[in-house]
Symmetry: C2
Subunit: 116 residues, 2 copies
Amino acid sequence: MSPLAKTPEPPYYAVIFTSQRTEGDAGYAAMAQRMEDLAREQPGFLGIESVRGADGRGITVSYWENEEAIRDWKANEDHQGAQEGGKRRWYAGYSIRVARVERAYAMDKSHEARAD
Amino acid sequence: MSPLAKTPEPPYYAVIFTSQRTEGDAGYAAMAQRMEDLAREQPGFLGIESVRGADGRGITVSYWENEEAIRDWKANEDHQGAQEGGKRRWYAGYSIRVARVERAYAMDKSHEARAD
């Protein structure tokens, strides 16, 4: 599970992937890790945040410099194979939304001096 | 935990809220449910998707018709109280990103006829 992503100042792009897993693993965990590792190597990749709940519902948000980087990642051959497996086996349903991040702010107590 | 949100055709807006919970509940679960219920009543609300993992990391994405709706929700008095509690008690860290959804697609097997 990826930590909070450190992204640059907006604007940049987000791909919001919300999914409901099917039952059982069927190679899913290994594929998901491989795809995250591969995404990190793509030009224009900025970060990724991913959470899956005990009920199989998950949200993964990946961040990209521009739309071209998103198109290239979608067209990546290994990723295309994973997309096919996702439709056939791993997901009961999913949504993908491509969005332009316009503003962002963050709070991180681990970097703050404690006041007490 | 909210199901996959049914949203209209883009464009619309997303608020991507990624967080790391502190230990213990301290009123968090009740507040989170109350805020989700309250968000659903706001003008311009389109949907919400929320997942939290066993390690306390969570992603909530809420969808809105326009930026005015997001500003109004941020300024809501009850929501302001929750935001303060979030900073003080409930979150070790979080990121908020406001993004304009430009395109979206979905797959839902529960609505498909089975081919076999």
